[in-house]
């Protein structure tokens, strides 16, 4: 079933046959005595694009770091492909991470390497491919994000949108099963945003990935994702397809989806409460 970026197809209908690839069960996470995440559960299905949304500081990046095993939950569990991430040894964790692509906030390209070498880094580290094969794979990926011809540039000479696309190429160069995106569109102009959005959709469907996107961009989320989780004050307050959530009558969901100042989500810093420094973005 071919999907276009911007299509609105009910996630439930299309993916009901797919099994969950990431299961988050009753996750609790503390930081310096503050509850960052409280009893959060998610079931992310293979092949889907899922958004995790919520105000800044609510703990979205924290969830990604818990999925990759960089942080350990205080309670609850995260299973990826049926394997418990928190129980993995150092070696298992490194093996597991080869199957997970991550696009960090701002791309995090290696500033001392060219675009080509940035994208080639995981291949050089983890495969024994010949120089010719590496060149072919890197050029193919760069081409798929519309950046053939930039391979010799250094990251500082790229625009924000281009850097993000290079980071996307790097995140999928090992053909991972899962790609995690931390605010892939923040700080980009509207055209670059839509370009990234379309590329995420295309790579997801062409490579059969599962994509988890952390964002607070409601408009882009509506166009891009199949399923959406909304966090506020450390809790999961709503989930469902974007269409469903836009129509939600829940005051918190409505406040977030429509960017209202007044509502149950406070922008004040709350001590010893989840989602501390929630700001309107």
């Amino acid at each position: 079933m071919k999907r276009e970026y911007g299509d609105s197809v009910s996630w439930q209908r299309e993916n009901s046959l797919h099994d969950p690839i990431i299961c988050i069960n009753n996750l609790v996470f503390h930081r310096d005595g503050n509850v960052v995440l409280d009893d959060v559960s998610m079931e992310i299905r293979r092949g889907s694009i899922v958004a995790i949304m919520g105000p800044s500081g609510v703990g979205k990046t924290t969830i990604l770091r818990l999925i990759t095993g960089q942080l350990q939950p205080a309670d609850g569990s995260i299973e990826v492909n049926g394997e418990l991430v928190s129980a993995m040894s150092h070696r298992d964790l490194y093996k597991f991470r080869k199957g997970v692509g991550v696009l960090l906030q701002n791309g995090a390209l290696f500033t001392d390497l060219t675009v080509f070498e940035n994208v080639a880094t995981p291949l050089r580290e983890h495969t024994k491919l010949s120089e010719q094969d590496i060149t072919d794979r890197v050029m193919e990926k760069l081409d798929s994000v519309g950046l053939s011809g930039t391979q010799e540039l250094m990251p500082h000479s790229l625009s924000g949108g281009m850097a993000r696309r290079v980071a996307l190429a790097r995140a999928v160069i090992m053909n991972p099963e899962i790609v995690l995106f931390d605010e892939p569109m923040t700080g980009l102009d509207p055209i670059a945003m839509s370009t990234i959005g379309r590329l995420i959709r295309e790579t997801n469907d062409q490579l059969g990935l599962t994509s988890v996107i952390v964002t607070h961009n409601v408009a882009q989320m509506k166009k891009l994702v199949d399923h959406c989780y909304i966090l506020a004050s450390a809790k999961l307050i709503a989930e469902g397809s974007p269409q469903l959530l836009t129509k939600s009558s829940d005051p918190s969901v409505d406040q977030f989806m429509n960017g209202r100042v007044e509502g149950p989500i406070s922008f004040k810093y709350q001590q010893n409460q989840g989602g501390g420094a929630a700001q309107s973005s």
Partner: protein, 239 residues
């Protein structure tokens, strides 16, 4: 201190010798060397001149001014060469290594590496640490060579000393084992010390602009102090 030792252990325990590591060590040595070379040549030259000047002033009182090359050579090879080069190296190369790694951290490049299942300690810290070992003895040799040149320029060129006496005193008076190798071992130890401190503070810098600043400052201060402390103890063992 213990943490720093543990970090050293982590670097060396995971070491995977191979062409990739060799390449990046050589590349870092080149970068570090290129960064520090000019300043070390200039400083070496002037230190040599001032040493010759002071030595001539002092020795003249005893009518022993032909011993100038011996005095300059001994103090240079044993003490001033390794110590001053290490201090300059800490200020020039140590700070930039600490800032570079700290900045990589602040821009999540270290994070990105871990997420690609690449160990940043091996990939980033180790080559820079080993490059310090390799480059400080070379830079010290360079410093000494330029200091001798400075002494030659002053003693022979300005003061009009006989060149034959200058060189023969230097050749017969400087002992290979005690003076030359003693200084060499010092520079090896200082190289390891300064680059370990730089890499360590860079790696554990807070990932903010301020954190990077703190890391560079601490690198200079601590490595200068440590160099001087180690210098005393090494001298008491070596002599």
């Amino acid at each position: 201190m213990g943490h720093c030792g543990f970090f050293l252990f982590r670097m060396l325990a995971g070491i995977r010798p191979g062409p990739a590591l060799l390449m990046s060590v050589l590349q870092q040595t080149y970068l570090v060397g290129a960064r520090s070379l000019v300043i070390i040549m200039i400083c070496g030259f002037f230190v040599g001149m001032v040493l010759a000047l002071q030595a001539i002033n002092a020795l003249q009182q005893f009518g022993a001014s032909e011993q100038v090359s011996l005095l300059v050579g001994k103090s240079l090879f044993r003490e001033l060469g390794p110590v001053l080069t290490a201090l300059l190296f800490a200020g020039r190369a140590g700070t930039s290594v600490a800032a570079e790694i700290g900045l990589m951290k602040a821009t999540s490049q270290i994070d990105a590496m871990q997420l690609m299942a690449i160990d940043p300690v091996q990939r980033i810290a180790l080559p820079r640490f080993l490059a310090g070992f390799l480059s400080l003895p070379l830079l010290t040799a360079m410093f000494n060579a330029f200091a001798i040149l400075g002494a030659v320029v002053f003693a022979i060129g300005v003061w009009g000393m006989d060149a034959g006496i200058f060189w023969s005193k230097l050749q017969t008076g400087i002992l290979f084992g005690k003076d030359f190798m003693g200084g060499f071992w010092k520079s090896v130890v200082f190289g390891g010390l300064v680059s370990l401190i730089a890499v360590y503070f860079g790696y554990y810098a807070k990932p903010t602009g301020e954190g990077v600043g703190t890391a560079t400052t601490r690198t200079v201060v601590l490595s200068s102090v440590m160099v001087l402390i180690f210098d005393f103890f090494m001298t008491s063992f070596l002599v």
